[in-house]
């Protein structure tokens, strides 16, 4: 899932500036699960904004809404008729949802209330860890199901490096060495031979280095009945 965390209230207040009527828009998917921008967080932040703005002598009117997914048109389209009532929308969705709102409703300013942080997993309650960098060329079959791109600080394909000490990464004693994890699991699975093959340099053009990415599935694209395209 996409993991994010709310921006500090001071920063949010600065972003909102002179806005008096604000629609605070949450998202019911990833940011709900990571407690950054779901219905509950919308309620808490809305109360904070009302109280803070009142204390500062310029009371804001803050309405609340949470849609199932801000990253899909069909879920945000029902908001269209409401948006003219507001100076600004403050979105607690991830960066995708925030851009979705801006793209779908170009005459409405939608501001970010969340810092989108990584693709990760709730390791335990209240703790999220990065697991994937969406590099576009998955090598988990080779690396015992543990990703060195997301979890090795150096993104090594042939690790570990000399900074791995007692199973811990040199950058931080709380960061396990991804290559130690990979080696340990491969040994348990009996797949160490895969690790002995030298991995060639990664084709980063499939990742962000190749520019913004796009997937087109011809079998799913709807055909325009008028034009036949």
């Amino acid at each position: 899932m996409i993991v994010g965390e709310q921006k500090p209230l001071d920063e949010v207040m600065e972003l909102l500036g002179d806005a008096r009527k604000v629609l605070l828009a949450g998202c019911g998917t990833c940011v709900t699960v990571c407690f950054a921008g779901g219905e509950k967080e919308v309620g808490i932040l809305a109360s904070q904004l009302r109280m803070r703005s009142k204390l500062e002598g310029h009371a804001m009117e803050v309405d609340e809404v949470t849609v199932q997914r801000q990253c899909e048109w069909e879920f945000i389209d029902p908001l269209a008729s409401r948006l003219k009532d507001y100076d600004v929308v403050l979105s607690l969705a991830c960066g995708i949802g925030i851009q979705g709102m801006n793209e779908r409703f170009p005459s409405t300013i939608t501001l970010p209330g969340v810092n989108t942080t990584f693709l990760g997993i709730p390791e335990k309650q209240g703790v999220w860890e990065e697991r994937c960098q969406a590099c576009g060329d998955c090598i988990l079959a080779v690396t015992a199901g543990i990703c060195p791109i997301a979890r090795c600080s150096k993104q090594l394909l042939n690790g570990p490096c000399g900074g791995s000490q007692n199973g811990v990464c040199e950058i931080d004693p709380d960061t396990p060495c991804a290559w130690q994890l990979i080696w340990d699991r491969a040994r348990e699975l009996g797949t160490v031979d895969k690790l002995l093959e030298i991995q060639k340099p990664k084709d980063w053009s499939k990742s962000r280095d190749g520019g913004p990415r796009k997937i087109v599935r011809e079998d799913l694209v709807l055909i325009d009945e008028q034009t036949g395209d």
Partner: protein, 59 residues
């Protein structure tokens, strides 16, 4: 334990708003600790009196 952490979180929310986080507090007191309870209530009352009424009520 969980309640204590949540109370701490609420205190942070109040601080961010500009209200004093000390307005909310939690203590563990058993039914047999009458004297300590009275002392705690007295201290809390004094603290709240020093902080004054919520500025949100005044504005």
């Amino acid at each position: 334990m969980n309640a204590k952490r949540r109370v701490r979180y609420v205190a942070q929310l109040l601080d961010q708003i500009g209200l004093e986080g000390e307005r909310v507090a939690m203590a563990n007191i058993s039914s047999a600790m009458g004297a300590q309870f009275a002392e705690l209530v007295t201290d809390t009352t004094e603290r709240l009196r020093e902080l004054g009424p919520s500025p949100l009520k005044e504005t």
